[in-house]
Amino acid sequence: MNRAVPASEAPERAAAAAPASLTHLQRLEAESIHILREVVAECERPVMLYSVGKDSAVMLHLAVKAFYPALPPFPLLHVDTTWKFRAMYEFRDTTARRLGMQLLVHVNEEGLRLGIGPFTHGSQMHTDVMKTQALRQALDKYGFDAAFGGARRDEEQSRAKERVFSLRSVQHRWDPRQQRPELWALYNARKRPGESLRVFPLSNWTELDVWQYIWLEQIPIVPLYFAAPRPVVERDGTLIMVDDARLPLRPGETPMLKTVRFRTLGCYPLTGAIESNADTVPAILQEMLLARTSERQGRVIDHDAAASMEKKKQEGYF
């Protein structure tokens, strides 16, 4: 992001910033671009895990910048659980077409055949089979040796110590004892045949940074992030959108139209909406500045007590 810093209205602040100094977003952007390029320079077959959410949108935007005027020299991979919001599928295909990038979609066919889904098998099993296992299948199938993910350290306590370059064994396992120290901007991308790296270019971004950057750079995102009237049911204190006919309504439940938006996006039955009127990025930012709950609260999956984040990560979930 190379736009000039606008002259600030507060004189004290203008004095504090030396003319040549970069803003926090410019520094984050430059760091992420550096990371993206290191992987492309040192790995054989990188891929970008594209989850269609806002973090993926920012990561993809950074990739376009990092390799401009060339296209990012890797494909996008969407691990499709088949339970994403319809608007996400639409957005995913439009985005790949707009950028002219190759999009690979992988579904765990075995899971599909067994009919694994969030309602029949619970969120934990669904996530494990359709997301974690599916991801491993896809990485093996194409032989990728490095995969970019959009995770941020501020998302959750156990991520605070995650490396930018995270080594995975031949079985895709994360061995917390084998993680390499990371100093300066010197990332160690070496690995043995079969081992792979997960790389997180947005490690040092916060949710607020992501939104500000989306606003400043006018990055397109899935419309579900913006408030609009949508059919929802309230279930265990969470607003679940009735995105298609697969949502089994419980006795007494009737979808009602509410003006809602989503702070994170995943499988629609597992993603809670919040009531909001914020239908522009500035309005979302404004709401965030006043918000009193964390982003992950909307993820039903986190409430699943048996499955701690740490455990999921060891198994290969992002």
Binding site: H24, E38, N188
Partner: protein, 635 residues
Amino acid sequence: MGTPPELVAADTGAALRAQEPRSLLRFITCGAVDDGKSTLIGRLLYESRMIYDDQLTQLAADSKRLGTRGGELDFALLVDGLAAEREQGITIDVAYRFFSTRRRKFIVADTPGHEQYTRNMVTGASTAELAVILIDARKGVLTQTRRHSFLVQLLGIARVVLAVNKMDLVGYSRARFEAIVADYRDFAARINLSDITPIPVCAVHGDNIIQPGAAMPWYSGPTLLEQLESVEIDAGIGARAFRMPVQWVNRPNAEFRGFAGQIVSGSVKPGDRIRALPSGRESRVGRIVTADGDLQRAVAGQSVTLLFDSEIDISRGDLIAGGDSPPQVADQFEATVVWLHDEPMLQGRTYLMKAGTRTVSATVTPLKHKINVNTLEHLPAERLELNDIGVCELELDRAIPFEPYTENRALGGFILIDRLTNNTVGAGLINFALRRSQNVHWQVLDVDKQLRARQKGQRACVLWLTGLSGAGKSTIANRIEKKLALAGRHTYLLDGDNVRHGLNKDLGFTAQDRVENIRRVAEVSRLMVDAGLIVLVSFISPFRSERRMARALFAPGEFFEVFIDTPLAEAERRDTKGLYRKARRGELKNFTGIDSPYEAPENPEIRIDTTTVGPEEAAERVIAHLAALKVTGST
């Protein structure tokens, strides 16, 4: 969430504008266990509204259950997610925390204060621009404080905030505070730390963290947050000479050839004269390309793509430097190394070294001394263990452009990578280039290896026989040499025992000495190969790493690893020299196979199983192998 309330203007546009020009400060917090580091960070997060209601509810519950504050909110719990992991044996080095105010975004490197502290602190400090050093007001300056300060200084952090915590427990005493500060300044001056801002704080109550503490009216300096918000960031890095390591060459089509990288110091504009290093070729900047349009100027910190006026051969790992003031290029350095791995650093061993965007091989030549981080004493040492810091010389296989770490962190800092495991095992800071590396040039001689070998009607090579003591190496080597000599070849046999009586009689059997033993023999055989000979080396050479080092000295096709594979039980049964018996009785220390490991070759050129093949047949097989490759035939 996010930012203090003043930011939340009724008009969203104003809120956004106020957000935009923030700067970024990365800092590290250091303190001994229980000095209050977690409490302090937790409070900063809380007071800058980075804590959400759902987390606060959790905190209130945890505080009642686990807190040390009698049910009051215990902020330490907010950042103590690490405790549980420690129990599970998970390596925690650094946890990163984020908060922001309307002026700045902050990234805090939080390092647990326990074992492996040096490694963790060095990792966190490598990217920090400021350090908050915590002191418990009751305890004053401790050995730990000195150690942290030394590491802070070593890693090139110029600015220190000395947070004297738990002032409530010393009656908010000004005299106590001033005595600690004087004591600290005394020590800091000895290690050249001068930019110190002392602040008396009480982390549990929040005094002088964000707001001035009413209990300390005598203190008129900045609060911790004020200091963090106003300290100058990276002053001067933009004013220095232009430097950009090339990460990636961008060639989308025949017309466009751009060099992508992140500028590490100085600035650049179209028309500037540049020099590419190590080649020394010059050109001028044509365009500075970004996806947002060409730039008229780019500065330190930015990631850009440069186009040059003339076709110039540059690849990843090269350094683009301002034309008037290019940095030095050298292949031998003195460096300070911090060891990060359980497997120690040995003299003579070769590692991969990543510096900037370039990876080369680096051999540890002498290790001069290690540094006691508590007393700053220099101690003689032969190896560096985990968390040791030492000063050593490094010899690279190629010359690289560099600047001393104290002048440029990005061009003077490097990591060492184990060639076998690929682990990051060390971190280093270049102090200076050794003079001999700049002056000694390789003598290019008219009579070369090929000519010398041709005169002898052979191709020069080395047969490297490795295996346990008593495996049969010497017997087989002797037979091979005899056969070659009979066939008119020019040979030489280097035998482990014989060399230890002469060239290597100063070496024992510790791991370091074994490494040095092999290094010398490898170098000697290289000279002999250069002289055109077929060299037979008969050495136990138990470590893979050294055999690899030896192999790396030779051109492809010149080095043959011959594994004389005899199981330990069999070698011990033969025990031709009686050494195994001695070792078993404990009269011989570090005996290979007994109390020192033998790492069998993974891919030897030739493997001889002595339980099925006798010495004569073994020698014939080796010779057949060489003949098939036309090594011994005349050329």
